[in-house]
Symmetry: C2
Subunit: 245 residues, 2 copies
């Protein structure tokens, strides 16, 4: 046990091989689930693509559902840690005031778009899978809620600081519109390429990143203004002064 630290003992070799087998199944599953959803892929498709035997899925994960969950969980932690750090950084550098809405939204989206653009094929697939899950009545409520909502709550809390006079309800709606726009982007169906005659490319995630924050920030401000007209200092607010029609 004390002998070789950096030589591959049989135990270490076995462990390495195990990790490889397991990871290769996860990689293949990630890619295929992202393309055709949970039911559109068989365990045989996955293990064949991974170059291992079907029975390994049972050994490593239990069953198909557990494999799906494992794929979804694998990258969620890394992602959320970074996003939380970024959020705290944005808060710190804005002190003692509240951060700008654009900075908050950018901290929310940048780690995702950055990885989808330059993190490699695995990350690209992962986000397409998130798009699938987020829009699925079957998996969305369970998986998104469990793995992303704790983080989302933090972001929304900071958004409320940035929009102190805005009813929280408006911020939740604004967040839902944001996440819808974001997940459709991740799906990268290429529809916008065709629609725009090549003027926009679905794969241009940098383009999305620079546009999404101003778009969403302006949208949120419009929702707030709509439900809580700005109170001008020095003038007491007049309620119910809107025209009837």
């Amino acid at each position: 046990m004390a002998a070789a630290r950096n030589r591959k003992t049989p135990a270490r070799k076995a462990a390495a091989r195990a990790r490889n087998g397991r990871e290769r199944i996860l990689d293949a599953a990630e890619r295929l689930f992202a393309q055709r959803g949970f039911y559109g892929v068989s365990l045989r498709d996955i293990t064949q693509s991974a170059g291992v035997d079907v029975a390994l899925v049972g050994y490593h994960f239990g069953g198909k559902h557990e494999l799906f969950t494992a794929v979804f969980e694998r990258r969620a932690g890394v992602l959320n840690r970074e996003r939380l750090e970024l959020l705290e950084e944005v808060r710190r550098s804005a002190r003692p005031g509240a951060p700008a809405l654009e900075a908050i939204i950018s901290a929310f989206t940048r780690p995702l778009l950055e990885r989808s653009a330059r993190g490699g094929a695995g990350w690209k697939s992962y986000f397409a899978l998130v798009a699938y899950v987020d829009n699925s009545p079957e998996f969305g409520p369970q998986l998104m809620t469990r793995h992303f909502d704790p983080l989302v709550e933090r972001f929304i809390a900071v958004m409320r600081e940035a929009l102190p006079h805005c009813p929280p309800r408006e911020i939740y709606w604004g967040y839902q519109f944001l996440t819808g726009a974001l997940t459709l982007t991740f799906a990268e169906t290429g529809r916008i390429d065709q629609l725009s005659g090549g003027l926009c490319r679905a794969a241009d995630l940098d383009g999305v990143h620079e546009r999404l924050a101003p778009y969403v920030a302006a949208g949120l401000r419009a929702l707030c203004a709509r439900s809580a007209p700005a109170v001008r200092p020095g003038k007491r607010l007049e309620r119910r002064s809107q025209p009837r029609r």
Copy 2:
């Protein structure tokens, strides 16, 4: 042939039964495909739920893929006709100027949200199915493009009239964000209910309707302002005058 107009001849009875069988398959397929996607549902699930035999699918539609397409096509026509009418109405009442952005967006979304809210269970399922298809790398590019993009092009053309100084590229991106927000809304996964602690309800489509147009309009204007700073009359535009940082 000339005899009974309002009595059910054998031929009429058979035709009625046929339409019922066919329509019942379509209804059941619509509901189930919306819940679990194309691969998550078997023809047996569908025909059992419709109370007919599996073989009828082959007779009426050919195969599973054709059934899926038929479900998707069935309501697209009605929808697009109404939306086009609404768009023309909005244009007419704005003449000789261009319509307000909010009015254009509302004409785009209202027929959808209205039917999803009050059109019955079939329509509700249909829009959840659209959410599935729009986010699917497999079906989206084909079905959305074919059945909705011709209409979308009309809407975008009018948006360009409403934003004459905005680069078309920005309008396409703005549209993609709109459609992402809209389709996630249709999926009605209930995630926002839980996230907001009941403050917002996914099923509150009237709430979405009144918020989506101002949100998207403000977002679009922000995108335009960003790339083409407003030219104030009486002052020639200064290009590249933005601060470096």
